[in-house]
Symmetry: C2
Subunit: 164 residues, 2 copies
Amino acid sequence: MRGSKGTRGARRGRNGEAIAESINFGPLERWIGFNLRMAQEAAFQAFSRRSQEVGEGPGRFATLTLIGRNPGISQTALSLAAGRDKSSLTPVVEDLVRRGLVARKRMRDDRRTYRLNLTAAGRKTLTQLTRCARQHERNLDAIIGRRDRTRFLQILKRIAAEIE
Amino acid sequence: MRGSKGTRGARRGRNGEAIAESINFGPLERWIGFNLRMAQEAAFQAFSRRSQEVGEGPGRFATLTLIGRNPGISQTALSLAAGRDKSSLTPVVEDLVRRGLVARKRMRDDRRTYRLNLTAAGRKTLTQLTRCARQHERNLDAIIGRRDRTRFLQILKRIAAEIE
DNA sequence: TATTGTTATACTCTATAACTATA
DNA sequence: TATAGTTATAGAGTATAACAATA
C-alpha cells in the first residue's frame, strides 16, 4: 500500500485515490504475512522519502550505521551482519568510498582484508540520516502506541529469529 | 536476517552460522523500522521456500488470490489493489496466461479492457498456494501467540494505512 | 587449501514515459 | 482528450560462480 495518504484505515492506491470498495481481498485481509509485507513496504517508502531529502537511498542507512558503530569492520563481517552475500556489498561500499563517506584501508597483518571507517563526511551524513530515522520512528510510535511498542518490537525480533 | 535457523533470539548469518557477538547494531536494535524489515524479509523468505515447492514464486500468490476473489477484474483495478503501476503487472499477467493459470478476454462493451479469471489449473495452483500460506500462518501464529495476534495484525494494518 | 574481496552475469521486482487502440 | 494495456528502458537490490591475491 505504497503512497497511502493516511485517511484512517481507508485503502488507497498509489496516488492517494480510494480503491473501489468492491475489491475483495479474501483471506489476505487476515493473514499476518501479507499485512507484514504491506506495513513494511509503506514504512520503507516513508523512510525512503525522508532519506532522499538528505540525498541518500534508504539502503545506505543500515550500512553506514554498522560501519559507524563498528569502526574498522571488514566487508565480510559487514555482509554477515547485514545478512547479505559479500558480493552484494561490493558495489555499495564502492559507492560510499567514491562519494567520500567511507574510508577503506588494508589491514597490515592480513592484506586480504579491508578496514572500513566513516569519514567526517560520512559521520555527518549518518547524523542526518539518524535524524530522519528518529522522526520516522516517532511517527511509527504514534501509530503503535506506547503501551504496545515493547511487545510489538519483541514479536518482530522473534519472527526474524524463529521463522523457518 | 534471512536464513535464520531458529535458535531462539540468536543472531545468525545466511547459512545459520552465529555472527560474532562483537557486532554492534547500535540504535538499529530498538528501531521499529529496521526490525519490521528484518521480520518481513525472514517471513517472505520462509514463504518463498514453501511456494517454490509448488513451483510458484511468492509474488504470484497475491495476484492469483485477487483474481480468484474478484472474477473478471481488469488489469488496472488489479494493479490498484496490489498498489503497483499497471505496467508492472503486464509481465506478471502475461506469465500467468502463458502458463494457463489465468484466462483473459476482452470486454464486449469496452474493447480496451480485459477481464481476468482463473482457469481450472489456476484454481488448483491457488489452492496449493493457499495451503502453503496456511501452514506459514500457523508458524507465525505460534511465534506471535494467540493472545497478541489480533492486536499485532491491527497494528500492521494501521502502519500500512497511516504512515507517511 | 581456505579466505577476502572483486568480477561477470543474471534474475526479480519495480517505475516512468512513450506508444496503440480504443472510447 | 482520456483510458486500458503494452513496450522500451532503466534502476535497485540481490544471488551464484569463478577468480586473484593473500594466508
